[in-house]
Symmetry: C2
Subunit: 126 residues, 2 copies
Protein backbone atom coordinates (compact mmCIF):
# COMPACT_ATOMS: atom_id res chain seq x y z
CA UNK A 1 0.00 0.00 0.00
CA UNK A 2 2.37 2.66 1.28
CA UNK A 3 5.37 3.90 -0.60
CA UNK A 4 8.71 2.28 0.08
CA UNK A 5 11.64 4.67 0.32
CA UNK A 6 15.40 4.13 0.17
CA UNK A 7 17.89 6.23 2.15
CA UNK A 8 21.54 6.02 1.15
CA UNK A 9 23.52 6.70 4.30
CA UNK A 10 27.10 7.92 3.84
CA UNK A 11 29.79 9.28 6.12
CA UNK A 12 30.00 12.80 4.71
CA UNK A 13 33.12 14.85 3.96
CA UNK A 14 34.24 18.47 3.87
CA UNK A 15 34.72 18.50 0.09
CA UNK A 16 31.32 18.69 -1.66
CA UNK A 17 32.73 16.75 -4.60
CA UNK A 18 32.97 13.74 -2.31
CA UNK A 19 29.20 13.34 -2.58
CA UNK A 20 29.16 13.08 -6.39
CA UNK A 21 29.14 9.25 -6.55
CA UNK A 22 26.30 9.26 -4.02
CA UNK A 23 24.29 11.58 -6.26
CA UNK A 24 25.02 9.35 -9.25
CA UNK A 25 24.00 6.29 -7.23
CA UNK A 26 20.73 7.97 -6.22
CA UNK A 27 20.05 8.88 -9.86
CA UNK A 28 20.58 5.25 -10.91
CA UNK A 29 18.14 4.05 -8.25
CA UNK A 30 15.53 6.65 -9.23
CA UNK A 31 15.80 5.49 -12.83
CA UNK A 32 15.54 1.81 -11.85
CA UNK A 33 12.71 2.24 -9.34
CA UNK A 34 10.80 5.43 -10.20
CA UNK A 35 8.10 4.78 -7.58
CA UNK A 36 10.55 4.67 -4.67
CA UNK A 37 11.70 7.95 -3.14
CA UNK A 38 15.50 7.87 -2.87
CA UNK A 39 17.29 10.22 -0.46
CA UNK A 40 20.83 10.76 0.69
CA UNK A 41 21.70 11.17 4.38
CA UNK A 42 25.02 11.71 6.10
CA UNK A 43 26.57 10.94 9.45
CA UNK A 44 28.55 14.18 9.62
CA UNK A 45 29.98 17.12 7.66
CA UNK A 46 27.15 17.02 5.09
CA UNK A 47 23.38 17.36 5.23
CA UNK A 48 20.70 16.12 5.55
CA UNK A 49 21.12 13.98 8.64
CA UNK A 50 19.40 10.59 8.79
CA UNK A 51 16.49 11.84 10.91
CA UNK A 52 15.82 14.73 8.51
CA UNK A 53 15.91 12.44 5.47
CA UNK A 54 13.64 9.87 7.12
CA UNK A 55 11.17 12.54 8.31
CA UNK A 56 10.97 13.89 4.75
CA UNK A 57 10.23 10.43 3.35
CA UNK A 58 7.56 9.86 6.02
CA UNK A 59 6.02 13.26 5.19
CA UNK A 60 5.99 12.17 1.54
CA UNK A 61 3.95 9.10 2.45
CA UNK A 62 6.55 6.36 2.93
CA UNK A 63 5.40 3.58 5.25
CA UNK A 64 8.53 1.51 4.81
CA UNK A 65 12.09 2.81 4.54
CA UNK A 66 15.26 0.85 3.83
CA UNK A 67 18.47 2.51 5.01
CA UNK A 68 21.54 1.32 3.08
CA UNK A 69 24.93 2.20 4.62
CA UNK A 70 27.18 3.26 1.75
CA UNK A 71 30.31 2.26 3.64
CA UNK A 72 32.93 -0.32 2.75
CA UNK A 73 33.16 -2.02 6.09
CA UNK A 74 31.07 -2.57 9.18
CA UNK A 75 33.12 -0.36 11.48
CA UNK A 76 32.03 1.73 14.42
CA UNK A 77 29.94 4.11 12.33
CA UNK A 78 27.81 1.28 10.97
CA UNK A 79 27.85 -0.98 14.05
CA UNK A 80 27.38 1.66 16.74
CA UNK A 81 26.38 5.10 15.42
CA UNK A 82 23.90 4.03 12.76
CA UNK A 83 21.76 1.69 14.93
CA UNK A 84 21.30 4.52 17.44
CA UNK A 85 20.25 6.89 14.67
CA UNK A 86 17.86 4.31 13.22
CA UNK A 87 16.36 3.60 16.64
CA UNK A 88 15.71 7.32 17.10
CA UNK A 89 13.97 7.40 13.69
CA UNK A 90 11.83 4.41 14.66
CA UNK A 91 10.84 6.10 17.93
CA UNK A 92 9.92 9.29 16.04
CA UNK A 93 7.85 7.40 13.43
CA UNK A 94 6.33 4.36 15.17
CA UNK A 95 3.98 3.57 12.29
CA UNK A 96 6.79 3.31 9.75
CA UNK A 97 8.86 0.18 9.16
CA UNK A 98 12.52 1.25 9.06
CA UNK A 99 15.02 -1.41 8.10
CA UNK A 100 18.77 -1.21 7.89
CA UNK A 101 20.91 -3.13 5.39
CA UNK A 102 24.48 -4.34 5.77
CA UNK A 103 27.22 -2.02 4.45
CA UNK A 104 27.46 -2.12 0.65
CA UNK A 105 31.15 -3.10 0.79
CA UNK A 106 30.21 -6.41 2.39
CA UNK A 107 28.27 -7.47 -0.73
CA UNK A 108 29.98 -9.99 -3.03
CA UNK A 109 28.69 -8.30 -6.18
CA UNK A 110 30.10 -4.96 -5.06
CA UNK A 111 33.45 -6.53 -4.17
CA UNK A 112 33.56 -8.27 -7.56
CA UNK A 113 32.99 -4.93 -9.31
CA UNK A 114 35.71 -3.24 -7.25
CA UNK A 115 38.11 -6.11 -8.02
CA UNK A 116 37.41 -5.73 -11.75
CA UNK A 117 38.08 -2.01 -11.52
CA UNK A 118 41.38 -2.59 -9.69
CA UNK A 119 42.55 -5.09 -12.31
CA UNK A 120 41.55 -2.72 -15.13
CA UNK A 121 43.55 0.06 -13.51
CA UNK A 122 46.58 -2.15 -12.93
CA UNK A 123 46.50 -3.41 -16.52
CA UNK A 124 46.04 0.04 -18.02
CA UNK A 125 49.33 0.70 -19.78
CA UNK A 126 48.32 4.09 -21.17
CA UNK B 1 60.09 -7.34 -16.83
CA UNK B 2 59.58 -6.26 -13.25
CA UNK B 3 56.67 -7.29 -11.18
CA UNK B 4 53.61 -5.06 -11.09
CA UNK B 5 52.06 -4.60 -7.67
CA UNK B 6 48.67 -3.32 -6.54
CA UNK B 7 48.14 -1.38 -3.32
CA UNK B 8 44.57 -0.99 -2.07
CA UNK B 9 44.50 2.27 -0.14
CA UNK B 10 41.71 2.69 2.41
CA UNK B 11 40.88 5.17 5.12
CA UNK B 12 41.28 2.89 8.12
CA UNK B 13 39.04 2.64 11.19
CA UNK B 14 39.26 1.81 14.87
CA UNK B 15 37.25 -1.40 14.55
CA UNK B 16 39.42 -4.15 13.01
CA UNK B 17 36.30 -5.71 11.45
CA UNK B 18 36.07 -2.64 9.21
CA UNK B 19 38.99 -4.02 7.18
CA UNK B 20 37.29 -7.34 6.38
CA UNK B 21 35.95 -6.30 2.94
CA UNK B 22 39.45 -5.00 2.09
CA UNK B 23 40.94 -8.40 2.96
CA UNK B 24 38.29 -10.12 0.85
CA UNK B 25 38.99 -7.71 -2.01
CA UNK B 26 42.73 -8.42 -1.78
CA UNK B 27 42.03 -12.17 -1.79
CA UNK B 28 39.93 -11.80 -4.96
CA UNK B 29 42.73 -9.88 -6.68
CA UNK B 30 45.35 -12.43 -5.63
CA UNK B 31 43.18 -15.18 -7.09
CA UNK B 32 42.60 -13.26 -10.33
CA UNK B 33 46.20 -12.10 -10.78
CA UNK B 34 48.48 -14.50 -8.89
CA UNK B 35 51.66 -12.87 -10.25
CA UNK B 36 50.82 -9.42 -8.87
CA UNK B 37 51.63 -8.70 -5.21
CA UNK B 38 48.52 -7.16 -3.62
CA UNK B 39 48.85 -5.14 -0.41
CA UNK B 40 46.56 -3.11 1.78
CA UNK B 41 47.56 0.33 3.06
CA UNK B 42 45.70 2.81 5.23
CA UNK B 43 45.59 6.56 5.72
CA UNK B 44 45.09 6.35 9.48
CA UNK B 45 44.03 4.18 12.42
CA UNK B 46 45.26 0.98 10.73
CA UNK B 47 48.60 -0.26 9.43
CA UNK B 48 50.55 -0.48 7.22
CA UNK B 49 50.81 3.08 5.94
CA UNK B 50 51.20 3.68 2.21
CA UNK B 51 54.97 4.21 2.39
CA UNK B 52 55.45 0.96 4.31
CA UNK B 53 53.31 -1.01 1.86
CA UNK B 54 55.07 0.50 -1.16
CA UNK B 55 58.52 -0.10 0.33
CA UNK B 56 57.63 -3.75 0.91
CA UNK B 57 56.48 -4.17 -2.70
CA UNK B 58 59.67 -2.51 -3.95
CA UNK B 59 61.74 -4.82 -1.72
CA UNK B 60 59.83 -7.75 -3.25
CA UNK B 61 60.90 -6.65 -6.73
CA UNK B 62 58.02 -4.51 -7.98
CA UNK B 63 59.05 -1.96 -10.59
CA UNK B 64 55.56 -0.67 -11.15
CA UNK B 65 52.89 -0.13 -8.50
CA UNK B 66 49.27 0.90 -8.98
CA UNK B 67 47.64 2.51 -5.95
CA UNK B 68 43.84 2.19 -5.96
CA UNK B 69 41.96 4.42 -3.49
CA UNK B 70 39.18 2.29 -2.01
CA UNK B 71 37.04 5.32 -1.26
CA UNK B 72 33.60 6.20 -2.56
CA UNK B 73 34.27 9.80 -3.47
CA UNK B 74 37.16 12.01 -4.41
CA UNK B 75 37.20 14.06 -1.23
CA UNK B 76 40.08 15.67 0.59
CA UNK B 77 41.72 12.37 1.52
CA UNK B 78 41.97 11.32 -2.13
CA UNK B 79 42.52 14.76 -3.67
CA UNK B 80 44.96 16.20 -1.13
CA UNK B 81 46.37 13.62 1.31
CA UNK B 82 46.93 10.75 -1.11
CA UNK B 83 48.88 12.69 -3.80
CA UNK B 84 51.30 13.90 -1.10
CA UNK B 85 51.78 10.36 0.15
CA UNK B 86 52.29 9.06 -3.39
CA UNK B 87 54.78 11.84 -4.15
CA UNK B 88 56.77 10.86 -1.06
CA UNK B 89 56.79 7.23 -2.24
CA UNK B 90 58.00 8.30 -5.69
CA UNK B 91 60.79 10.34 -4.11
CA UNK B 92 61.81 7.38 -1.96
CA UNK B 93 61.82 4.95 -4.92
CA UNK B 94 62.81 6.94 -8.02
CA UNK B 95 63.27 3.83 -10.17
CA UNK B 96 59.74 2.60 -9.56
CA UNK B 97 56.70 3.73 -11.54
CA UNK B 98 53.96 4.52 -9.03
CA UNK B 99 50.56 5.33 -10.45
CA UNK B 100 47.39 6.34 -8.69
CA UNK B 101 43.87 5.42 -9.85
CA UNK B 102 40.64 7.32 -9.33
CA UNK B 103 38.57 6.33 -6.29
CA UNK B 104 36.69 3.06 -6.83
CA UNK B 105 33.33 4.72 -6.09
CA UNK B 106 33.70 6.87 -9.21
CA UNK B 107 33.63 3.78 -11.45
CA UNK B 108 30.36 3.08 -13.29
CA UNK B 109 30.65 -0.68 -12.82
CA UNK B 110 31.07 -0.26 -9.08
CA UNK B 111 28.11 2.15 -8.89
CA UNK B 112 25.99 -0.29 -10.90
CA UNK B 113 26.83 -3.07 -8.44
CA UNK B 114 26.00 -0.85 -5.45
CA UNK B 115 22.69 0.13 -7.08
CA UNK B 116 21.81 -3.53 -7.60
CA UNK B 117 22.58 -4.26 -3.96
CA UNK B 118 20.41 -1.34 -2.80
CA UNK B 119 17.47 -2.50 -4.90
CA UNK B 120 17.86 -6.07 -3.64
CA UNK B 121 17.82 -4.82 -0.06
CA UNK B 122 14.79 -2.61 -0.65
CA UNK B 123 12.88 -5.44 -2.34
CA UNK B 124 13.75 -7.99 0.31
CA UNK B 125 10.43 -8.66 2.04
CA UNK B 126 11.79 -11.31 4.39
Amino acid sequence: MGTHGIVLFGHGARDPRWAEPFERLAARLRAAAPAAPVSLAFLELMTPSLDTAVAAQVAAGCTRITVVPVFFGQGGHVRRDLPQLVDACRAAHPGVEIRCATAVGEDDGVLDAIARYCLDQANDTA
